[in-house]
Symmetry: C2
């Protein structure tokens, strides 16, 4: 998570209290008649994933119960369901690979359409190779079968094949680009899109084995050689679901920040807010590339992502998201 250290928005205090101290303060916050939610936000919202890991471990050791169990029982409910605040804090407190394994599993249990599979594309294409492997390991531990097996039983062909290859990828992670290869593979992609064979074996192979720098060069080559961007050509191929998923995979590989700008934007525009998507975008990217997402948001909409979030949320939920975005509450 080297990139995350520079591109995340969370604000870890210069002098970080010991995990033991954090645990005691968290436990105290739950003691009163009303949980001191602000204190929970101030502590957990300002610790990075390795600090949260230590807090989870020490909490288990000190109080002999998992921290997430306490959060589940003690953070305020919204009538009978988990409030958005509660869901966000729990998601943020979990181990990131376990969190993503759970998100993937939840998305696979939805049967209609393909939009919900967006989460799996995000995990497969907008993560480091190491994180993706960790998610697959966590999935096996949690669900008694592999992520690949659940994709196989829940997603039909030809999308199944693309998803399977993307989640099984372990890309080379340094900047090595072969210009000739970019050129020839741009041609392969263009021909497949022209023939409306978006999930052709060769397309799947290119997207699931090449390193991301190589792929960015390939997409750039595509634009230069064929006038349109690969996104434009996919969109005008009129292939419906395939079109949506392939475009998404390429976007998450090429410029994940642009994808997450779309997720945040869609969650906040219009009447009501899609809190689950908003939470997912901010919780999963706050210590990865939220700086880039914020810059890109401003770039596209000439307005602030932070203000959009503030304008569309309220209470503890708003305060927690603002904290993850690096703001003061």
């Amino acid at each position: 998570m080297e990139e995350g250290e520079k591109m995340g928005t969370i604000r870890v205090p210069k002098i970080v209290p010991s995990p033991g101290n954090d645990c005691k303060k968290i436990e105290e916050a739950f003691r009163g008649w009303r949980t001191d939610t602000k204190e929970i936000i101030r502590i957990l919202g300002c610790r990075n994933s390795s600090q949260r890991k230590k807090i989870r471990e020490i909490y288990q050791h000190l109080y002999n119960k998992p921290l997430t169990d306490t959060l589940k029982s003690k953070l305020p409910h919204d009538y009978l369901v988990f409030s958005d605040f509660k869901k966000a804090v729990i998601m943020w407190t979990m181990d990131p690979s376990e969190r993503d394994a759970k998100l993937a599993n939840k998305s696979l249990r939805k049967k209609k359409g393909v939009d919900h599979l967006q989460v799996i594309i995000e995990i497969a294409c907008a993560s480091t190779p190491e994180h993706l492997i960790a998610v697959r390991q966590a999935y096996c531990s949690l669900y008694n079968c592999s992520l690949e097996e659940d994709i196989t039983s829940n997603v039909s062909l030809p999308l199944r094949k693309l998803l399977l290859c993307l989640v099984s990828s372990y890309r080379y992670n340094r900047e090595v680009v072969d210009a000739n290869l970019a050129h020839s593979e741009a041609t392969v992609l263009q021909e497949a899109i022209e023939k409306k064979k978006l999930y052709h074996d060769e397309v799947v192979l290119i997207l699931s084995t090449r390193n991301k720098h190589q792929l960015k060069a390939t997409f750039e080559c595509y634009r230069q050689n064929y006038g349109n961007s690969i996104y434009q050509d996919i969109e005008s191929s009129g292939t419906g679901n395939s079109e949506y998923i392939l475009r998404l995979a390429i976007l998450c590989i090429d410029t994940p920040e642009k994808h997450f700008v779309e997720v945040v934007r869609k969650s906040v525009v219009g009447l009501g807010t899609d809190e689950d998507s908003l939470t997912r975008a901010i919780v999963t990217r706050a210590e990865v590339d939220m700086m880039k997402i914020r810059a890109e948001y401003f770039n596209i909409y000439k307005s602030s992502l932070d203000n959009a979030v503030i304008g569309d949320t309220s209470g503890d939920y708003k305060d927690f998201l603002v904290t993850l975005l690096g703001g003061k509450i």
Copy 2:
């Protein structure tokens, strides 16, 4: 490597000398006019992979050079080429994931036929999921590209697809078997073999995503439902190379010990010995399942694997292999 602790043949002394002590003795063994090869064998041949790892680290620290470099320069040459002894000791001393990444790379650089791809099938199908991931990581570190990319450029379709899916697998690793699934997937396999479509997408999917216990149940179901074993049906499909590789993949998933019995047997029968294969089989399995391989060898040939190795090798090479097999020298 839980299984390895019970099923390996190497003999680690009850009181293991400290890694620092081992390093000093190794360095002394190289000091004299002639390297004391027996001492090298006695030390390195009787340490498990985590002990060898510590020895490599401490050696680097004490003498400011990698242990494998010393082995390369100081162990006796065989005229101008590396002797079999030297190759075996170096292979044994390397980190197992690095060793397998190197074996995979070497096999991909051979262009003719498909026999050499056997090594990749072994790594993909006869390893734990964790080891396979570690090999992919080591491959990226060593070769500036992923194992998958090198398979893509060096192996042609349809074999490429099978290999890619097998090396990308991360199987669930506990004993969970669904009898209905075994039944229905045995049918899928049988139909594909009957139609001579050995690398059909469904076949590849089953072999690369199901856990090994499930697959064993599927192969057993196959035998019960169709009279022949899946091996017999593949062999009589008359599909040449495809037949060879598919049978191998299934064998390495189902009963890797039987595959390695074949490797050892082929290396020692007839005139001359295929030392590279013999070394690979013994070095890669000595702390994994060599006990099982030995038992299976006796079962099939009514003679001892150890005696076969002793009868076909000599000198330090023989002594080293015998040591890995748990014998005294």
